[in-house]
Amino acid sequence: MTKVTLTVNGRTMSGECEDRTLLVHFIREKLGLTGTHVGCDTTQCGACVIHMDGRSVKSCSILAVQASGSTITTIEGLASQGELHPVQAAFKEHHGLQCGFCTPGMVMTAVDMINRHGGSLTEEKVRTELDGNICRCTGYHNIVKAILAADAEMASGRQAAE
C-alpha cells in the first residue's frame, strides 16, 4: 500500500491505496467524495472529469499514485459558501440535465472550457469541446445553452471587476 496525499478542494487529504488504484476510485471510496461518477470506465464518457493542477482530466484513466502531490478540484469544490458556481447555476437555470448522471463531468468540463476560452465560446465551439463527454439521455441542447449562458455571465462578471 502506498500513501497518496492530494490537495482536494483546498484541503490536504491522504489515504492508503494500492498502486493500481484508479484516481476516481480513490476520490470516491477513500476520500468519500462521490460526486465524481464512474460512467463507462473506458475514457469515453467523461462522467469522471475532475481538475488536476488546473487541467480537466478523466480520473478513471489515471492512477491515484500518479496524482499524488497534485491539486485536485472535484464537483464538490465548485460552490462556495452555499452559493452555486456560475456554471452550476446556469445548468440549473437552463435545465442542463435530464437524469443527472453525466452532470458532474459536464460541469467540470464546462468550467475548464470557460477557463481556456472564456468569453469567446460559440455554440459550435462548445459542441466541439464536449467531444469527451457523453450524455446518454442525449440532453446536449440545454447543456450547450447552459455553458454559453455561464460563459456570458462570467465574462460580464470579469468586465465588472476590471
Partner: protein, 265 residues
C-alpha cells in the same frame, strides 16, 4: 488491472535506472493508452516508471526554424502554443484533434510515438515532417523509427526524450475520424520541406504509418489538390476491418491528401 508497482522519476537518468532495474517494467507518460490497456489486462507491467515529473522532458523550444518538443509535452500544450503555430500550424492542428480535450491534457507526444498505434496522429505528423526522434542514447530519423504495428526502433529500456524538426515551408493534416474512437480511420500529413515533399499516411496501412511515393511525386511537380487527381492508391497493403475495407481506405487516402494540401494552402 493486475497489480503493479509505481515509481516516480525526477530525471531522465533516474528513469532509465529505474526501468533497467525492472525487466518487466514500462515507462508511463500520460498513460492515456497504457492505463486503459492495463485496465483491460492486455498489458501487465510489473513496474511503472512515471515520466511526467521530469522537467527536462516537458516544453517546446524554438530556435530559428528548428523546433524541439519534449517527450512529456501534452497534446494540449502543442495545440495551444502560439509560437509553434506561427511556424508550423499543421502540427498544432494535428494535436488539437487527438482524442478529446481531457485526453489532450494528459496524453503526450513521446507516449504517442513510442506506442506507434497504427491509427495515431503523431506518427503521420513526424514522418511527414521528416522529424528526428531523440532518445536517452541516440537520435533516430522518423523514417527509421516507425517500424510496424505498435512497433518502433526503440530498444528495451530506451526512452524517447524529445522530437526535433525544421519547420516546413508548408504543411497540412487531414483525418477522417472513426466516429466512436476518434482515432484516424485514415489521416494524411503533407509537408513541403527543405528536402522535398513528404506525404505520410496513418490509420490505413496494414503495417502502420507509411509514406506514399505516388502522392509525393505528384505534389512535387505541382503543389495543389488537383495534382492528386490521377494518382492511384493501391489498396492491397491497406487495412480492412469492420469500420472500412481497403478499397474504401484507399479512396480516403486520396481525399484526405487533397484536404491536407488545401489546409496547407
Amino acid at each position: 488491472m493486475y497489480a503493479t508497482s509505481y515509481h516516480r522519476a525526477s530525471s531522465v537518468e533516474e528513469a532509465v535506472q529505474l526501468r533497467s532495474a525492472h525487466e518487466e517494467g514500462k515507462y508511463l507518460s500520460g498513460g492515456m493508452t497504457l492505463i486503459s490497456t492495463m485496465k483491460q489486462r492486455l498489458a501487465a507491467p510489473s513496474d511503472l516508471v512515471d515520466l511526467r515529473h521530469i522537467p527536462a522532458l516537458r516544453g517546446i523550444s524554438i530556435e530559428g526554424r528548428r523546433v524541439k518538443i519534449g517527450a512529456a509535452t501534452p497534446h494540449a500544450d502543442v495545440a495551444a502554443s502560439q509560437e509553434l503555430r506561427a511556424l508550423c500550424p499543421a502540427i498544432c492542428d494535428l494535436a488539437s484533434h487527438i482524442g478529446d480535450p481531457h485526453v489532450r491534457q494528459m496524453g503526450t507526444i513521446g507516449g504517442s510515438i513510442a506506442n506507434n498505434d497504427p491509427a495515431a496522429d503523431y506518427p503521420a505528423g513526424l514522418l511527414g515532417l521528416g522529424a528526428t526522434i531523440v532518445t536517452d542514447r541516440r537520435s533516430i530519423s522518423a523514417d527509421d523509427f516507425f517500424v510496424g504495428l505498435f512497433e518502433t526502433a526503440l530498444e528495451e529500456g530506451e526512452m524517447v526524450t524529445a522530437v526535433l524538426f525544421d519547420a516546413p515551408e508548408k504543411a497540412g493534416y487531414a483525418k477522417f475520424n472513426n466516429p466512436a474512437s476518434r482515432f484516424a480511420m485514415t489521416g494524411v500529413f503533407v509537408a513541403k520541406t527543405a528536402s522535398g515533399v513528404r506525404v505520410a499516411v496513418t490509420g490505413a496501412g496494414s503495417d502502420g504509418v507509411f509514406r506514399h511515393p505516388g502522392l509525393e511525386q505528384a505534389l512535387t511537380s505541382s503543389w495543389s489538390a488537383d495534382a492528386l487527381a490521377n494518382v492511384s492508391v493501391d489498396p492491397s497493403s491497406l487495412l480492412s476491418d469492420l469500420h472500412a475495407n481497403a478499397e474504401y481506405r484507399a479512396n480516403l487516402v486520396k481525399v484526405m491528401a487533397k484536404r491536407a494540401v488545401a489546409a496547407a494552402g
